[in-house]
C-alpha cells in the first residue's frame, strides 16, 4: 500500500501537466519566485529603515527644513528636474512590463525593442541622478543631516538601479542566447519584479525629498 501511495504522489496530481521536467521546472520556479519576493520584502525594510531615519531627523528640527547650516538656509532640491527624471524611471518600468508581456506572447522583436528602451531609460535615470548630485547645493554627503539622508537614500537607490541595469543586460544576453523559452523564463520575471520594485521605491523617495 505504501508503494501505491508513493507512486500515487508521483503522477496523479500532475496528469494535466507536461512531462517530468515541466513539473520540476514549475515547482522550482514557485520556490525561486517566493524566495525572490521575500528578498524584495527584506529590501523594502532596508529602505524603510533609512526613510524612518530621514523622517525622524527631519521632525527633530521641524519646520526648519531644509535645515539652517551655519546660519544659512539650505535650498530645496530641484523639483522640476526630479519630476523629469522620475518620469524617465517610471517609463522604463512600463517598457520593462511590456517587454515581458511580449516575451510571453513570443513576440521577440517587440521584446528586444522594449528591452532596449528599458535599459536606455535606466541609464538615462542614472545620468540624471549624477547631474542632480552635481547640482544639489546641500552641503554634500557628510555636511549635514539633510545631505546625509538624501545622499544615503538616493545613493542606495541609485546603486539598486545600477545593479538592475546590469541585471537586465545580463537577462537580455541570456534571452538572445536562447536560455529562456516561451514557457520557462523565470529570470525575466524576476528581473521585471526587481525593476518595478526599484521604480516604486523611487516613488516614495521622490515624494519624501522633493514634494514634502
Amino acid at each position: 500500500m505504501a508503494v501505491s501511495v508513493a507512486s500515487h504522489g508521483h503522477d496523479a496530481p500532475h496528469d494535466d501537466h507536461g512531462g517530468h521536467d515541466d513539473i520540476i521546472y514549475n515547482e522550482t520556479r514557485d520556490m525561486r519566485l517566493m524566495g525572490f519576493v521575500l528578498f524584495l520584502v527584506s529590501d523594502v525594510v532596508l529602505f524603510s529603515s533609512y526613510i524612518f531615519a530621514y523622517i525622524y531627523l527631519r521632525n527633530s528640527i521641524q519646520p526648519n527644513w531644509p535645515p539652517i547650516v551655519n546660519g544659512h538656509q539650505l535650498p530645496r532640491l530641484d523639483t522640476a528636474f526630479a519630476a523629469f527624471n522620475s518620469v524617465v524611471l517610471f517609463g522604463s518600468g512600463v517598457t520593462m512590463h511590456y517587454a515581458l508581456e511580449n516575451w510571453k506572447h513570443a513576440n521577440k522583436g517587440r521584446f528586444n525593442l522594449f528591452m532596449f528602451f528599458t535599459i536606455l531609460l535606466g541609464l538615462g535615470f542614472l545620468g540624471g541622478q549624477a547631474y542632480e548630485y552635481a547640482h544639489a547645493q546641500i552641503g554634500g554627503w557628510s555636511g549635514n543631516i539633510f545631505g546625509a539622508s538624501f545622499f544615503t537614500l538616493t545613493g542606495m537607490h541609485g546603486g539598486h538601479v545600477a545593479v538592475g541595469v546590469g541585471f537586465l543586460i545580463a537577462l537580455w544576453i541570456q534571452a538572445q542566447r536562447g536560455v529562456y523559452t516561451q514557457s520557462k523564463f523565470f529570470g525575466l520575471t524576476a528581473g521585471t519584479l526587481y525593476w518595478h520594485f526599484v521604480d516604486v521605491i523611487w516613488v516614495v523617495l521622490f515624494f519624501l525629498f522633493y514634494l514634502w
Binding site: 501505491s4 501511495v5 508513493a6 504522489g9 524566495g35 521575500l38 525594510v45 529603515s49 531615519a53 549635514n144
Partner: protein
C-alpha cells in the same frame, strides 16, 4: 492510480526532490563546501560551539574581574572591550546561528519529510559567511575591540576604538547570513512539506522555525541599516547620530531595538520548539494543546515587532508613547504563559523517562519562567525607571538567554546527538552535567537581581565594596558552570570513543527524522513519505506511509487507563 488508503494526503508534493542525486565523493564537497543541510547544520554547530567557548572565556574574565570591587585583573578599558565582545559574540555568533542555522538545518528538513532546504547553495553561502564574520569580529581585538557594549549606543560608540568598525562589518555580515537563512527556511517549510503534512500536522519544532523566519528576514535588515549608518558616520563622518551635528542618538536606539527586540525572540522561539519536541517524547504522550503552542509562537513573533521601545523607557521618548509599548510587552506574557502551562500539562499523566534532554527541558521550564517573570518587572515603566541599566537587567536576560536558549540547546544537542552521530552519550555523566549546570547557573545569576536593585549599574569594571560578597559568590558559581561546560564537551568526545550504537530511534520518538537511520542517509528519504496525522500520538501506528522501514512502529499496550486514539 491504484487504490489508495482512506485519508491519503493531497498536499504539497515535490517531484524535483524525487529522484536522488548521487552523493558527492570528494572530501571537500562532502564535508567542507557541502550543500547538504544536515552537514551544514553540523558545521553551524561546530563553529557555534567554538565561538561559545571563546565568548564563555570572556564571560569568565568578566566575572574574575568582579572578584574585587576595584577590579581584580584587567584595566577598565580592556574590561569594556571584553564584555562588549562577550555580548556581541553570544548573541550573534552563538545563540542565533545555533538555534536557526544549526538545529534548523539539521532537523527541520527531515521533520517536514524533505530531502534538503529549498536553496541548498544559498544555504552554503549563508553558512560560510558565519565563520568569516566571526573571525572579523574577534580580529577586532587586534586593533582595539569595541567597548560600548553589544548595543554600541552612539555618541560613545562614535568615539570608540577602530575595532568598532570591524564590529559593524562582522555583525552586518552575520545579519545577511540570517536573512538568507530566514528566506531559505520559510520557502522550504512553505513549499516542501511531504504530502499530507498540513500545517496542523507539522512538528512543533517546525512551527517554531516557521514563526522565527519573518523575524530573521525582516527585522535583521533594519539592524543592517542601523549598522551601515553607524559605519559611514564613523568612517566618512556622515551625520546620523551625532547630536553636535544635528543627528540623534535616540535614532540609533530606535533602529537598533527594532531589530534587537525581535532578535530576543529569534533566540527563544526555536528553543520553545526544541522543548515541545523533547517533552512529549520523554513523557510518552502527545504534546498538550498542540494548536495553542503552535499559534502562540506565531503570536509572539508578530507581537515582538511592536515592543522595541520598552528598552528605551529612560532614553527620553514622548512619555505617552511609553504606555502602548509597556502594555504590548505585558501582553506577550499571555502566549508565553500558555506555552509553559501546556508543557506542564504535557508532563502530567506521562510515563516520564528522565533522560538528560528531559531534565534540561524541565530545567528550562523553571529558569525560563523565572526569567519571564522578571521581564514583567522590567516591562512596567515605573519599575523600569529604577531597574533600567542595572544588574537586574543583566540577571533577567541571562535567565532567558542562558536559562532559556542555552538550556534548550543543551536539551536539543543531547536529544539529537544520537541522530547526528549514530552513537549514544554517557547518560550518567549527562545527568550529572545537567544538575551541576542547573544549580551553578542559578547560583550565578540569582544574586545579580538584588545587586541591581540595591544600586549596582551594569557595565562597570569596579563597584561599590558593599556588593563584594554577592559578586564573589556569583563568580565562584560561574567557575562551576564553566566546569560543567567542560564536562559537556568531554561527554560528546567520550561518546565518539565508546558511545554505543544508537540505532535509528533510541528515544522511541515519532517525528520523521527518527524514521531514518542514524546518522541519516545523504538524501534522508528514499521515498518522500506521506503523512496522515500529527506526530505525537504515542501508542498508535506511525502516521507515515511510504517509509521503507518504520522503526518503533509497534508499541506495548498502554499501562494507563486511556486507550489509543486512532487518527486516521
Amino acid at each position: 492510480m491504484a487504490t489508495v488508503a482512506p485519508g491519503v494526503p493531497t498536499g504539497p508534493y515535490h517531484a524535483v526532490l524525487d529522484h536522488i542525486h548521487p552523493e558527492p565523493t570528494s572530501f571537500i564537497r562532502k564535508y567542507i563546501f557541502s550543500i547538504d543541510a544536515k552537514v551544514i547544520g553540523i558545521q553551524y554547530m561546530i563553529t557555534g560551539a567554538i565561538f561559545f567557548v571563546i565568548a564563555g572565556m570572556l564571560a569568565e574574565i568578566i566575572r574574575t574581574q568582579l572578584l574585587s570591587p576595584h577590579g581584580a585583573i584587567i584595566s577598565a578599558a580592556t574590561y569594556n572591550s571584553v564584555y562588549s565582545m562577550h555580548g556581541s559574540a553570544m548573541v550573534w555568533f552563538v545563540v542565533i546561528p545555533l538555534l536557526t542555522g544549526a538545529f534548523g538545518n539539521f532537523v527541520m528538513p527531515m521533520q517536514i519529510g524533505a530531502r534538503d532546504v529549498a536553496f541548498p547553495w544559498l544555504n552554503l553561502v549563508a553558512f560560510w559567511i558565519f565563520p568569516v564574520a566571526g573571525v572579523i569580529l574577534f580580529s577586532s581585538f587586534l586593533i582595539g575591540a569595541p567597548d560600548a557594549g553589544w548595543t554600541e549606543y552612539p555618541p560613545i560608540s562614535l568615539q570608540g576604538p577602530p575595532g568598532t568598525n570591524l564590529w559593524c562589518v562582522a555583525v552586518f555580515l552575520i545579519g545577511i547570513s540570517s536573512t538568507m537563512t530566514g528566506i531559505n527556511f520559510l520557502v522550504t517549510m512553505y513549499k516542501m512539506r511531504a504530502p499530507g503534512m498540513t500545517f496542523t500536522r507539522m512538528p512543533l519544532f517546525v512551527w517554531a522555525q516557521f514563526a522565527t523566519t519573518p523575524l530573521l528576514f525582516i527585522a535583521t535588515t533594519a539592524l543592517g541599516a542601523a549598522l551601515a549608518a553607524l559605519f559611514i558616520e564613523r568612517v566618512f563622518g556622515v551625520p546620523f547620530y551625532d547630536p553636535k551635528r544635528g543627528g540623534s542618538p535616540v535614532l540609533w536606539q530606535h533602529m537598533f531595538w527594532f531589530y534587537s527586540h525581535p532578535a530576543v525572540y529569534i533566540m527563544i522561539i526555536p528553543g520553545f520548539g526544541i522543548i515541545s519536541e523533547v517533552l512529549p517524547t520523554f513523557a510518552r504522550k502527545p504534546i498538550f494543546g498542540y494548536k495553542m503552542i503552535a499559534f502562540s509562537s506565531v503570536a509572539i513573533s508578530l507581537l515582538s515587532f511592536s515592543v522595541w521601545a520598552h528598552h528605551m523607557f529612560t532614553s527620553g521618548m514622548v512619555p505617552w508613547l511609553q504606555l502602548p509599548f509597556m502594555i504590548i510587552t505585558m501582553v506577550i506574557a499571555i502566549p508565553t504563559g500558555v506555552k509553559i502551562f501546556s508543557w506542564m500539562a504535557t508532563l502530567w499523566g506521562g510515563s516520564i523517562n528522565w533522560k538528560t534532554p528531559a531534565l534540561y527541558a524541565a530545567g528550562f521550564l523553571i529558569t525560563f519562567t523565572y526569567g519571564g517573570l522578571t521581564g514583567f518587572f522590567l516591562a512596567a515603566v515605573p519599575l523600569d525607571y529604577h531597574e533600567h541599566g542595572t544588574y537586574f537587567v543583566v540577571a533577567h536576560f541571562h535567565y532567558v538567554l542562558y536559562g532559556g536558549s542555552i538550556m534548550s540547546m543543551f536539551a536539543g544537542i543531547y536529544y539529537w546527538w544520537p541522530k547526528m552521530t549514530g552513537r549514544m552519550y554517557n547518560e550518567k555523566l549527562g545527568q550529572l552535567q545537567f544538575w551541576v549546570t542547573f544549580i551553578a547557573f542559578n547560583a550565578t545569576f540569582t544574586p545579580m537581581h538584588w545587586l541591581g536593585l540595591l544600586g549596582m549599574p551594569r557595565r562597570v569594571a569596579t563597584y561599590d565594596p558593599q556588593f563584594q560578597f554577592w559578586n564573589q559568590f556569583a563568580t565562584y558559581s560561574s567557575y562551576v558552570m564553566a566546569l560543567a561546560t567542560v564536562l559537556f564537551f568531554y561527554i560528546l568526545f567520550d561518546s565518539f570513543r565508546n558511545g554505543k550504537k544508537a540505532g535509528p530511534n533510541p528515544w522511541g520518538a515519532r517525528t520523521l527524522e527518527w524514521m531514518v537511520s542514524s546518522p541519516p542517509p545523504y538524501y534522508n528519504f528514499k521515498k518522500i513519505p506521506a503523512v496522515l496525522a500529527a506526530p505525537y500520538d504515542f501508542g498508535n501506528p506511525l502516521p507515515y506511509l511510504g517509509l521503507d522501514a518504520a522503526p518503533g512502529a509497534t508499541e506495548a499496550t498502554p499501562t494507563s487507563v486511556s486507550h489509543p486514539v486512532p487518527t486516521y
